[in-house]
């Protein structure tokens, strides 16, 4: 039997209490990684329990990515458990990510909420993880979205921060390349609690979404998105950096 792809590796995933973050955590755990789940709420512990059900190991670090010390604690937990850190995965977004908004009605507070989690969160993750990632020639993976690449008529601020993360990642990829550390983005389309709620309110949304996906369905966080993150976090992706990998059934092809 071949070794699991992430055997002996340790990953930190922000916003892994549910949705895409949880799916990535389960896939990484199932692939043999020790998974540090960073989440503000108790659902982080549920994610760890599900990782353990799949035969993996993990720990929940309660924390908020907008607080540098919280991110540092998550990295310390990973290094303490596995002797190092192989992948930092920044998935957390503002709770307001899926609230439709008109740009002319956006106030400073709403903007700051988006920026704090996505952008300042990425900054905190990068700074906290760099020493450990440099030691292991590890990787930093961030989540982006078609909303960032083509704009969004309903979620403009979400689009702004998701695009901003692409500028962030490409620059950091150049900056960290001399250390052998890589930085990439994944642009997923997957079922999330927010999407499930939206479909409950508007049942026709499911068909509209599926109609825009050449593969005809919205992906699953664990079985569709997770394996691509596992690949990026594993040993075979060391020469991939600065890239955006859409994992969306062909939804966005205009890159």
């Amino acid at each position: 039997m071949t070794e699991p792809a992430l055997s002996g590796r340790t990953v930190v995933i922000t916003g892994a209490g549910d949705g895409v973050g949880r799916g990535i955590a389960l896939a990484c755990g199932g692939a043999g990684a020790h998974v540090v789940v960073m989440a503000r709420r108790e659902n982080g512990a549920e994610t760890v329990a599900l990782v353990e059900e799949r035969g993996g190991t993990g720990a929940w670090v309660r924390g908020d990515v907008t607080v540098a010390a919280d991110v540092e604690r998550a990295v310390a937990a990973a290094v303490g458990a596995g002797g190092g850190l192989d992948a930092m995965i920044h998935n957390a977004t503002s709770r307001r990510s899926s609230e439709p908004v008109r740009l002319e009605e956006v106030g400073a507070e709403v903007w700051d909420d988006h920026a704090a989690v996505s952008l300042r969160g990425a900054y905190h993750c990068a700074r906290a993880a760099l020493p450990a990632l440099r030691d292991r020639k590890g990787t930093f993976i961030l989540m982006t979205s078609p909303a960032g690449m083509e704009g969004s008529a309903t979620l403009p601020l979400y689009g702004v921060v998701k695009a901003a993360l692409r500028g962030f990642a490409k620059s950091l990829a150049r900056e960290w390349a001399p250390f052998g550390a890589t930085v990439n983005l994944v642009s997923p389309l997957a079922q999330t609690p927010a999407m499930t709620n939206a479909i409950r309110e508007d049942p026709a949304l499911a068909d509209r979404l599926a109609a825009r996906v050449p593969m005809g369905r919205v992906g699953d966080p664990e079985s569709d998105v997770g394996p691509v993150v596992v690949f990026l976090a594993g040993g075979g992706a060391g020469y991939v950096t600065g890239q955006t990998l859409p994992v969306d059934g062909g939804r966005f092809m205009t890159l």
């Binding site: 740009l103 903007w111 960032g148 403009p156 689009g159 702004v160 993360l165 500028g167 620059s171 900056e175």
Partner: protein
């Protein structure tokens, strides 16, 4: 080409903003400079309204408020949270306030907003993580606003010159300019801005004006 058109250019008193202002005047426009800093939508709206009170209805706003001092390269690991904000998030916030103020100013008449977004956002640049973050955010801001405000006759586009035109830094060595030299802001970039201001049927896009370096998209 732009005779009778009234344009506001943010950051127009120095650097690339000043060069673009000259180029737009060359094209016949009435150009007013609004230099900021703008820490709120209200700040920007007030400045834009003052121009409108003096020059009449404004047809276009060119956002070129790019502080050359934000372009001092530094590793992200050595960047304090205050510097992260100043060089990154604040640049993006200011673009948001100016975009909203443009919406307020254009009202039902519509108008053109052009954001100057150096190609460092597309290519990435070591030592310039906060800045590239802001620039890519600005490009998506233009796209989303273009989708929401198109029905009001508001078009938003980005014009992307090499970062060398904005500050005394060098972008990544992607490729030599196919046309043999870096562009000149007044002579080469301003005419592309002018084409957009004149009312091209173009919105939500980025026009790279770098003489053929990145060739993106």
């Amino acid at each position: 080409m732009l005779a009778g058109r009234s344009i506001i250019i943010t950051g127009g008193s120095r650097g690339i903003g000043a060069e673009l202002a000259l180029g737009l005047r060359d094209a016949g426009a009435t150009v007013a400079v609004a230099d900021g800093p703008y820490d709120s939508r209200e700040d920007a709206r007030r400045a834009f309204s003052e121009v409108a009170a003096e020059n009449g209805a404004v047809d276009a706003i060119v956002h070129a408020l790019l502080d050359p001092d934000a372009l001092v390269p530094a590793p992200l690991a050595d960047t304090s949270e205050a510097a992260w904000d100043e060089r990154g998030e604040a640049v993006l916030r200011t673009a948001l306030w100016c975009t909203q103020a443009a919406y307020d100013l254009f009202g039902d008449r519509g108008g053109q907003l052009v954001l100057v977004t150096p190609t460092i956002g597309l290519t990435g640049g070591a030592g310039l993580v906060p800045y590239a973050t802001a620039i890519e955010g600005m490009r998506a801001l233009a796209k989303s606003a273009a989708r929401q405000w198109g029905a009001r006759g508001i078009a938003l586009n980005c014009v992307a010159p090499p970062v060398e035109l904005v500050g005394s830094v060098t972008g990544p060595d992607v490729a030599a300019p196919a046309l043999g030299r870096l562009p000149d802001a007044r002579g080469d970039v301003a005419p592309v801005v002018a084409m957009l201001v004149a009312g091209a049927f173009v919105t939500g896009t980025t026009i790279v004006v770098d003489g053929g370096m990145v060739m993106a998209p």
